[in-house]
Subunit: 435 residues, 4 copies
Amino acid sequence: MARVVSLKKPARRSRAPVHADIKDPLLAEKGRGRIDWAGRTMPVLSQIRERFDRQKPLKGVRLAACLHVTAETANLVLALKAGGAEVALCASNPLSTQDDVAASLVADHGVSVFAIKGEDNDTYYRHIQEALNTRPQLTMDDGADVVGVLHNDRMELLEHVIGGTEETTTGVVRLRAMAKQGVLRYPIIAVNDAKTKHLFDNRYGTGQSTIDGIIRATNRLLAGSVFVVAGYGWCGRGLAMRARGMGADVVVTEVDPTTALEAVMDGFRVMPMSEACKVGDFFCTVTGNIDVIRQEHFEKMKDGAIVSNSGHFNVEIDLKTLHRLARSRMILRDFVEEFTLKSGKKIIVLGEGRLINLASAEGHPSSVMDMSFANQALSSEYILKNHGKLERKVYAVPQLLDQEIARLKLKALGVKIDKLTPQQEKYLASWEEGT
Amino acid sequence: MARVVSLKKPARRSRAPVHADIKDPLLAEKGRGRIDWAGRTMPVLSQIRERFDRQKPLKGVRLAACLHVTAETANLVLALKAGGAEVALCASNPLSTQDDVAASLVADHGVSVFAIKGEDNDTYYRHIQEALNTRPQLTMDDGADVVGVLHNDRMELLEHVIGGTEETTTGVVRLRAMAKQGVLRYPIIAVNDAKTKHLFDNRYGTGQSTIDGIIRATNRLLAGSVFVVAGYGWCGRGLAMRARGMGADVVVTEVDPTTALEAVMDGFRVMPMSEACKVGDFFCTVTGNIDVIRQEHFEKMKDGAIVSNSGHFNVEIDLKTLHRLARSRMILRDFVEEFTLKSGKKIIVLGEGRLINLASAEGHPSSVMDMSFANQALSSEYILKNHGKLERKVYAVPQLLDQEIARLKLKALGVKIDKLTPQQEKYLASWEEGT
Amino acid sequence: MARVVSLKKPARRSRAPVHADIKDPLLAEKGRGRIDWAGRTMPVLSQIRERFDRQKPLKGVRLAACLHVTAETANLVLALKAGGAEVALCASNPLSTQDDVAASLVADHGVSVFAIKGEDNDTYYRHIQEALNTRPQLTMDDGADVVGVLHNDRMELLEHVIGGTEETTTGVVRLRAMAKQGVLRYPIIAVNDAKTKHLFDNRYGTGQSTIDGIIRATNRLLAGSVFVVAGYGWCGRGLAMRARGMGADVVVTEVDPTTALEAVMDGFRVMPMSEACKVGDFFCTVTGNIDVIRQEHFEKMKDGAIVSNSGHFNVEIDLKTLHRLARSRMILRDFVEEFTLKSGKKIIVLGEGRLINLASAEGHPSSVMDMSFANQALSSEYILKNHGKLERKVYAVPQLLDQEIARLKLKALGVKIDKLTPQQEKYLASWEEGT
Amino acid sequence: MARVVSLKKPARRSRAPVHADIKDPLLAEKGRGRIDWAGRTMPVLSQIRERFDRQKPLKGVRLAACLHVTAETANLVLALKAGGAEVALCASNPLSTQDDVAASLVADHGVSVFAIKGEDNDTYYRHIQEALNTRPQLTMDDGADVVGVLHNDRMELLEHVIGGTEETTTGVVRLRAMAKQGVLRYPIIAVNDAKTKHLFDNRYGTGQSTIDGIIRATNRLLAGSVFVVAGYGWCGRGLAMRARGMGADVVVTEVDPTTALEAVMDGFRVMPMSEACKVGDFFCTVTGNIDVIRQEHFEKMKDGAIVSNSGHFNVEIDLKTLHRLARSRMILRDFVEEFTLKSGKKIIVLGEGRLINLASAEGHPSSVMDMSFANQALSSEYILKNHGKLERKVYAVPQLLDQEIARLKLKALGVKIDKLTPQQEKYLASWEEGT
């Protein structure tokens, strides 16, 4: 006979009160279940956590992480903590925090978390400041906000910092610009550039979770609709692939000719937004740029068009102008806001134009975050090990780490692959052999 | 400058209290928004509702509907009501009721609703009895439960009944069996058999919403997983198509050789469940049969396998046996229950084996329900019009109704199609012309 | 050490000269290899042939078959011959004859074949007459031409005929019209309506072979092109699926609203030909109707548009008018003819508008023809067995034959499927069980 | 009334006899049509040819090109010739020569061509020597054979050489190895590495044409088969995508863990060849390595397995061993050879293990070669312009050339894309802006 058992409550060491600002510590139990559930599909990070627990490579290191506060991030934080780090965690997006996860991190694990779902802009930046108040030696960013604040407002703290990591394409672009201008003050590893990060997280993670976010918010049928994907980078092609997989007729907009040609050859219709805006039922921006959907587009959209964003910042849709154009607004469902233009036409905006996969869904599935965060954990260790050797610039994740993560992941999936025979290795190395 | 306006509160006629059993009438406002949102993508039903409102073809008719109590169903009920019917509504599944929708139907529209999400089995059947207490002249079923109770327990009410409709494949199978045995006591129109119902609702509706339900419940990545679809009927092929669209490696199980061959030719791997159970990461049953996944399969599954059902009844997974086999159970997340077998292996069951697209998601998107429910509304009208001419058997939806619905839908989508030229019509009718 | 061996030459019985009209008997050896190669992927027909050889169910029966004279048809003919039939074979299309196959049938097997690739219209009909001169007792048609000629010109032969079979949708439409008008003079089994025929042959066979024909003729890249499929019946959806699979942006035209809606939900763009003609790079008709692409469309096409047909008759493209509109024509490659309109615009027609999969490729792959022809063979046997019981109308293939063919095919593919347990069979038959 | 006109015969200047070795000059007319047909979908190269014709940037330069002698290559040669070059052309593969194209190049354009389809190994190398006898200043390679022969056998000619280009991945690997060892004697531009080359040619070109080659050779149905793709580089993923698009169940083998993970996430089954060999119906190697399918695999294959290669060299399948294992061989159809092993099991090899898309089909469609060859033409011009500045190493195609080609191609396809607004350009360049 089966019996229902509750989730095991972790042993609590007695400890000093944790410095934190979260919604409600009583949500911890639910968060604990969520963290546990996510952890089950993060086998690579689990293995790293076990090794970190034994070897303590981050012992005593203060680390400020500005990441989406989700169950997957919690698993990263627990790995870093297992490695000996003292972690302060704040949110990289005001809407993406899972309050129950934050509660569990604080209540069950004594992590300093500063994040509340739906916090306003001031609170958002105050929380970053709180995390910086721990005087971090390592920073971990998802959009370069911590780096930005450090370099602009808290320059006195820069002397403590050994290095940092950055998760997103958007952040890496900003950091590269800083390095080029010579203003970057410490070395950063661009986790986003690891193959096991951007080839997976950006494509399969963003692809599925954006579709998930849009469907959760709207419960609309994608089959038979025209779905406009703005941007055909890794995120965009993941999204386009999945939108087509759900039966939509997918239209792609791009600025880069080579990328646009790829979209054409992949069977998508490619056109400028000034055309796409007339035919789309759904729009989703994933470009990393501003005002990708703007007044001239709103004005030509069909009545009832649904607009969303899955790019890092909520700047891709020009919402300021939409507010100005609208004669009224109405919340129809959670994350679904209708703007009625002066003409009477209605435009629907999802999740206030913020990352829809985090606003109305749960972000990337844990199994893709597994690899991204394995890169984060190993890169942090690498920075400490190579302290002194690294310059003030943006580094790639070392290829050996990257390959190792892929290998661990395949192993966890039970997938076996071929090995080169000695003859094959020799052949690849040689050039003398002919037809 | 835009201003935020609340949803317009509908004018309330003063009226006698409504006989109903729902969770909380205060949820009405949220439900109202949801019904409105769904209605926007139900253009066919809207047009029927307008005509019904003018013509009152159902004037004074008592109708008992046993359907999933969702925002889409609410739009059907409002169309029937516009046509003059007095509707009593109960749930066709204990888990699928949207309590806010039920509240709005009662509070805003005076409909007798008997449905509470999560009601136990006794309440479920009591609610059917309550609906039958209105002495219906028309019945509307989604799984033949009202017909079943009427024919078994409430035979005294049969004299009032003029006819009924049935929504599902499962129900139609049961009703055909009854008709064959000569025990069916009134005519039923098999809405499920309309092309504009089963070709769309079962395929595209179930396809998307089942994927949605599984992702909402688990937040797992489908890409790279092995997804086993049991049954390759219309629902099954919809699900298989979408699971592949999300990047899964899809395995199909079937009992019919011709259908199995189609799955093979569609590029899916086909194997018996006794083999599929060893390789699947996700399982979803859509067969209309019992014990499709049973002890012999649980025993061979991988650790952590996730099992769900999207067939009508929660009998497709043999949960009784799984309960017996398990040494403990644990709720990990909403709708996610883990069974630990004596061997230590864990099997995850979603939504207690009930329709996962209704348990953890919102059921079919409204745009597919639009056509199903247009068939319901027009079939009800048809039964009344043809009262006396219909025998005690199961009828197809008249083809003219079916085609008309497709035509209205295309029009609403803005899709134009070709018309046969007179020459083409003549050609098709002729046989004399040769090569 | 391997040694190269030639194909074994079959033993030749001494026999009387065969009445035949083919291109060149010396092509027999190549044809023999082709027939053998096709036979390898026709396991169902092979098994039937073995049984026929033992049981001789067609002993002494005269059979006139008007089919595409291909290696697959040859395997059917050999099975019929093994069953004891005396077969006369003529072509159902002037362009589809494989002359080497015809040669082998005559030279190696003594079959009366009347078919030469590229024969003109007069020869085409003369060949049908020659086949009819054998006074057939069974007819086998692919487009109802033999039935047509028999009923119009050779009514004196009708008294010999016991029954016939028909392979195509097109033919079945014509035969149904004849039966309805009461002019059909003998029973016909509509092989096309067998599930194991039309669900496979029309969809997967036509799908692949039409793409094959178009690519062989043109060597053009489909990826990134706009490919217009006229008609979304089984052939059309097979073709649309494969064109998308090759990376094209597929547009569908239709006249039936329900079918058009399915195409929309499958993610295709649907529009009338009057719009599609402006955007297409490739066009292929599969409708069974006349003048699907006509003057008004030619006039709006893009310069260089490529037009082809995969429907049964070469009437779907209005070539007469195109000839009239053109100021010059030029053969660019085999099966590729360019029409230069007065405006200077060029339109390319493939294979003279005849079935492109037979004109420039080899028709359906043998593994799909396996099932179609198994239906032909078993239907012929069935007609003889039920001689006297059948009326002058169009019959479906008996379901038991159909299912048996699927079962044999799965077995040959090594695919195993589930069997219903006794409990499941009971459940499906019952109606008493509830939620 | 239309009239049939023959292809216009180009005006022939009187000229000295051309030094050439081809099959038959009388094939020129057919080749001319083929070249013309290909040229129609090579709009980028056409535009370059027009400019070259005006500017003569290659005036008087001797160029030896070792490329597949196809209609597309002919268009490249004509562009180079228009630019003023004296071109000697030999084949980069003994089976890929289109003899009619070779004839037209010689007869109509006076190009020195040394290539005969099916030439033996000695002739193959003799033809390379003949091309080198023209003492080339530029080389153009497709597999680095000319570079190889020059560096090994004809070192006396190296002094004339200014630079060269290389078309393939395989060749670039070899050249990089040479450069690393310090033995490369002149600069080479790796055309393969241009985005407009490898992202298109290797993926969409190889994808479609390999499927085309396999179907032409076999006429087998891919739907429902298990298709094993060895290697998931750009060619491999193109092939896998198209095989799936034709309805196959695709299995991928790989040696690189990250690439293997991508294949998994794309929904393919990934396994080592030692497992894949047991389940495959079709095999195609695209790895650039040797002995990818070898004795241990042949021994475990299913009876009737079909093996082919679409990688550059015919070394990917270990045919020597297969010959040894076979007790007999038989040619079943053109390009289809059956090996009967001692056990009686049959293994089918297509096109003698050479590039199947060139052996039994026509190679890449011209529209993809358009971009590859535009890169060749512009790179040749670039080498001449930068003579003296380039070192003895392998260079990428300058990004500006690459982007320009994409832009010209989109224009030719009639596809418009977005342009960055000044605000967007500023945003991308900036790093100061935050959430």
